[in-house]
Symmetry: C2
Subunit: 190 residues, 2 copies
DNA sequence: TCAATGTTGAACATCATGTTCGAGTATCGT
DNA sequence: ACGATACTCGAACATGATGTTCAACATTGA
């Protein structure tokens, strides 16, 4: 890929995130991003359809980053009953505080929310598929991804009032009994 | 309150919901609502700041409706371990299918999502306060409201693939073990 | 009936979006 | 190092939504 293309996209993504932090996603015009990135208007539209499209490509980077950390952890077989996978997620958020604050905060708008929930959903879906549950995997994954997302957003918006491991432990406490219950091979739902 | 005011507001709310169903919340202009409601432009702005403000007042109606049903249920003391409070919520959504479809569906935009989560959060917060939990009530309420919202949205968007009682039962299965665990008076979180 | 209050529509300023195009400029393969 | 290629620029433009204003008109409630 052409160096100029890489450069342009990078500048636009950086400008976007910086501006989200300052002014919030919703109250942000394409022109603002252009000015900050010092990129021509027409150039923007040769790369992205709109603000949302730009944000998505940025999110792809975050997604890959997080996935990488999860995969890295997967090789070191974690003992069951540990908070590892959750820990990795909350850790990731904590280490990238600045960015998460910008993007999750009230400022962040809904762009992030949807993408993040989809990501969590996928992770959980895989995880639950191998486990197998008593009720439709879709539902369980939807349920837990919503729960995690919501907790994560709260945590970030409150400016990380607990250390990540502790948050992970709390979620674990709320989550695993339900998973256990839905795992036990028992009669169908009434 | 003046009859004309009531009439105007009502027409605007009705037009809004009808149009959400047809075109989706985001792709909807104030002018569209005006045309449908047959209300003058300047009139709109004497009542509402913008589209979101109009939507909020509509949501207030829905909220009161739901709250009413929950209160009505509360007097008939439900036996513990039943799906009642959840059942009422899913029932409410099912009976008002058309509206929920419009407002939760992909069409609905995020306006509904936030308001609904806040509502669920409040309900759960009250509920958990009397119960008392081992971990911060805020967190538990955030966690469960996210989980419920997510499940509800999924259910509506899939066009109600299960009967409401069944959905309630599934949520109950996923929820109550976690609540139980967080209720037992046990050592603090590590 | 009448004073108060609500509604109207058209005009207006403002602002963001997304497209176009010719001229300039950096990049990559050779 | 060179030239074809691909990228960038900026200014201009059409479009369309927003929110405000005002004077004339209509409905209400007492």
């Amino acid at each position: 890929m052409d160096r100029r293309v890489r450069r342009t996209r990078r500048m636009l993504q950086d400008a976007l995130v910086a501006l989200i932090e300052e002014r919030g996603y919703e109250r942000l015009t394409v022109q603002d991003v252009l000015d900050r990135a010092d990129v021509g208007r027409s150039t923007f539209y040769t790369h992205f359809r709109d603000k949302d499209a730009l944000f998505m490509t940025w999110f792809d980077g975050l997604r890959e980053d997080l996935r990488g950390e999860l995969d890295a952890m997967a090789v070191g077989h974690q003992p069951p009953g540990t908070t590892r996978p959750l820990g990795v997620i909350f850790d990731h958020a904590y280490r990238n505080r600045r960015v998460y604050r910008a993007v999750c905060g009230r400022q962040g708008g809904n762009a992030f929310t949807h993408l993040m929930q989809r990501l969590l959903f996928e992770l959980l879906h895989e995880h639950l598929c191998v486990a197998g549950t008593r009720l439709p995997v879709e539902i369980a994954a939807e349920y837990y991804s919503g729960a995690l997302l919501s907790t994560l957003l709260w945590w970030v918006r409150q400016d990380f009032p607990y250390p990540p491991e502790e948050l992970a432990a709390m979620c674990q406490l709320l989550t695993s009994p339900g998973v256990m219950a839905s795992l036990t091979p028992a009669p169908h739902i009434p």
